[in-house]
């Protein structure tokens, strides 16, 4: 039977075989030794028609409870920010999503220009000189940033990682660096933020750099200027992982003396998608440009002097440098970076600020409301942005289960992260006063 993605008319196969000079398709596979040839069909489910497959997908979907059917206060690195409809309309254009990596710049100007604009937006947001075309996601971007720091300092053999980093990022860093025989030293938290005094104790002359997250995993604001100073004083690179939305309000890290800025771009119009694909961003100062992994787009001109965009500084990359490349990464999450760009352009100067202010205001409304119920106690005294940690006086698992009955996903149970009784609650601009009041009422009911 001929398949709908395989365009072969009657007799065409025979004509082609004749041109090749063989009798059958099997003759084209003669190089595969007989003992390696499969004699039975693959044991995977039979082909499904378009209709049947749509039904099957629907059926699988019905076994999920999407956050659209509940009110979600889950965050922990993945945030339910509003995704303007424009984004999907733009990335659904075949010209963007079905094109290849822009290695032939004359016929890939669309993708190249989109990346160039993305690089500009990330630089303006972070206050850095150079952004690459994007990384896989935030956690691996953190690991790659530490690899830059290690390459930057001769005889370095260890790095510092704040315990306030996302737990996944800490694990990814440990995995990447284990194979390089680099010691990962975890800097503890003190009252919710990174203990730089402890960091000083942990650092030595072989420490390449330190990575810290702001706001950190528990939602708390970190002291960025002190971190930058600490790194400079100890002759190591400072790497800051940021929530890009928070940068609509905060002084850009680049202006505070940070050397490398990274983060996950999920919050920038990328939706939830059960954990991916998202994008990671990585921005550096000119000084570290040549050690940066990943693709970079620059402006050039064609033979007639027309403005044109092209991949540049490719000598850092695996397809040219092979064993000596800065990383083995090829991918930039082009389409996800495009989503982030459209998001940043659509929200623009005012909208970014409004999303940040609304998230800030609403998270504080809920925080205060929950504290007022008397069912919670404060865990940290430092400020937070859109996500906070509270300790429940009763049984957290019971509380979260009860909230689910009220159709509310109340947050992340931090007992799975070694913090008994605490929950991590995120509030974006999408949550309404009514939803938060319902959360508070439900807590009162359970705790009464």
């Amino acid at each position: 039977m001929i398949h709908r993605y395989i365009p072969k008319g009657d007799g065409e196969k025979e004509k082609m075989l004749e041109k090749i000079g063989v009798e059958s398709i099997d003759d084209l596979f003669v190089d595969i030794p007989k003992e390696l040839k499969l004699t039975e069909p693959l044991k995977i489910p039979e082909a499904m028609s378009e209709l049947d497959l749509l039904r099957r997908a629907q059926e699988l979907g019905e076994k999920n409870i999407p956050i659209t059917s509940r009110v979600s206060f889950l965050g922990a690195g993945v945030y339910d920010h509003y995704v303007p409809l424009l984004i999907d309309h733009i990335i659904s254009r075949s010209e963007f999503y079905t094109s290849y990596t822009p290695y032939q710049p004359e016929i890939a100007q669309g993708t190249l220009q989109a990346i160039f604009e993305y690089q500009t937006l990330i630089c303006r947001l972070t206050g850095m000189d150079i952004s690459n075309a994007s990384m896989y996601e935030g956690a691996s971007a953190a690991a790659e940033a530490l690899l830059i720091a290690l390459a930057d300092k001769r005889k370095s053999n260890n790095v510092l990682v704040s315990a306030g980093m996302h737990p996944d990022a800490i694990q990814v860093i440990k995995t990447y660096l284990h194979y390089r025989d680099v010691e990962v030293r975890e800097v503890p938290l003190k009252d919710g933020h990174t203990d730089l005094e402890a960091a000083k104790e942990l650092a030595d002359e072989h420490t390449a750099g330190m990575v810290m997250q702001n706001p950190n995993f528990f939602g708390e604001m970190e002291d960025v200027p002190s971190f930058a100073t600490f790194a400079k004083d100890n002759k190591m690179l400072s790497i800051l992982s940021v929530d890009p939305i928070s940068l609509a309000l905060l002084e850009p890290p680049g202006k505070q003396g940070i050397d490398l800025v990274i983060g996950d771009g999920q919050a920038l119009g990328n939706g939830l998608n059960f954990g991916g694909p998202y994008l990671g961003f990585l921005a550096v100062n000119k000084k570290h440009m040549r050690k940066m992994p990943g693709r970079l787009v620059g402006v050039s001109k064609d033979t007639e002097g027309k403005r044109a965009f092209v991949l540049t500084l490719q000598a850092r990359e695996q397809h040219i440098r092979r064993y000596k490349a800065t990383s083995n990464i090829c991918t930039n999450m082009s389409l996800n970076a495009l989503m982030a760009s459209v998001y940043l352009n659509t929200l623009g100067k005012e909208g970014m600020r409004e999303v940040a202010i609304q998230s800030l205001s609403k998270s504080h409304y809920l925080y205060n409301g929950l504290l007022e119920t008397g069912a919670f106690e404060e865990v940290f005294s430092t400020p937070f942005f859109k996500e906070f940690t509270l300790k429940y006086k009763g049984d957290v698992k019971k509380l979260l289960a009860k909230l689910l009955e009220c159709n509310i996903v109340g947050g992340l149970d931090l007992s799975d992260y070694g913090r008994e009784g605490e929950i991590l609650v995120a509030v974006t601009e999408k949550r309404t006063k009514e939803e938060m009041d319902r959360y508070i009422a439900c807590v009162k009911e359970v705790s009464a």
Binding site: Y5, H178, K306, Q318, A356
Partner: protein
Amino acid sequence: MKHYSTLIFEISREGKRGYSLPELDVPEVSPDVLKSPIREELDFPEVSENEIMRHYANMSQGNYHIDGGFYPLGSCTMKYNPKINEDIARMPHLTQVHPLQPVESVQGSLELLYELQKDLCEISGMDAVTLQPAAGAHGELAGIMMIKSYHEKNGDHQRTKMIAPDSAHGTNPATAAMVGYDLVEIKSDENGLVDLEELKKHLDDKTAGLMLTNPSTLGLFDSQVREIADLVHEAGGLLYYDGANMNAIMGKARPGDMGFDVMHYNVHKTFSTPHGGGGPGAGPVAVKKILEPFLPVPRIVKEGDKFVLKSDCPDTIGKLRSFYGNYGVLVRAFAYIRTMGPDGLLKASENAVLNANYLMHILKEDYNLPHELICMHEFVLEGMKDPGDVTTLDVAKRLLDYGFHPPTVYFPLIIKEAIMIEPTETESKQTLDSFADAMISIAKEAKETPEVLKAAPTKTPVGRIDEVYAARALILTYDDLLAYREE
């Protein structure tokens, strides 16, 4: 296609806006509560929604794309991106899902991923799969890390060498370096296949493993693969299979049966997920039983009739990224495999190989074919017969004027003036014939009017781009551009 290079920053005018949000319904909190340095302003564009749409619509017209035309890119498997994949990957019930939701509320997504894992085991002849890696190179990284952990677990700390042929993809050596291995590059024979004698010279108790793609990057199947595997195994090493060329052998042969211990897939090649202009892809990794304990966590497993995320695996290499993988991409791969079924996948490989051989036999008249063998899903030409001073780059650029995306050029490195062609199964005989006509016509032009090739392309939105200028001026943002103009 058209030329459009106006930047969003040049369209921006003070006071315009492109978004709408509900009014804030709680008391406004000042950023002062953050007790952190606050920025003065965010220098972002101010553009209305319709202008943004037009901006991107115009920009998109500078792109060649698979829905619009043929992409014979060797090693890239640019096949049709089916539309049902896109629709399923946008179903709200499958996508509006947070990765940390209670596991009971994501059973559908986990079931889908679990089924995909099972299919990928069967297609490769392996025993277990992780879907976590974000791309092929990321999968390589996972696989080589697992090999290293395996040797460490056995106390084989002296195994510091990773072997790869000189015809390998650039990611292979770069990956070995990232995992802290010394790379030993071995010379291939004249057909780009492993030279057994050369391999034997390098196998010893320092060998950690061999990275190989089969069919090779020359598109030839290495019939000695079992012998190669036995030799490497006898030396105590493991075999890594670079799955970039899986589109040649689905349902025909399996890396697991060839003796490989671990491999990655590129779902954006073999399983039709879109390239997106350079990502997102996904790079699932399949392993034999001996490497299963080392798979990244969490693993998606079935306990009774429930799907769970299992992290309690003492020998795991850990995590390579957050969460479970590029789910949205994996959903598309799942949809593709279900659409094709066992027979469809087999037919895909058969037709990919048929199409490649057909083109090879037409083009070998005017271009040098470095071997006289049957190829698999792709083949490599060694430039043109009688090229004069015409280079492969000129041929590639001239193809743009004929409306085709050029093949992969100057790779593999072991072939001079390489032109690497992979037509895939989703192209018709008519398309292959018109591509062949263009290539033949270019060969003719090379003799009669070589200046036309040197000046190509002339029909594209922009002409040849000055790459040296880009590397020298280093204008990497709009702000660089403004500063450069002032100088």
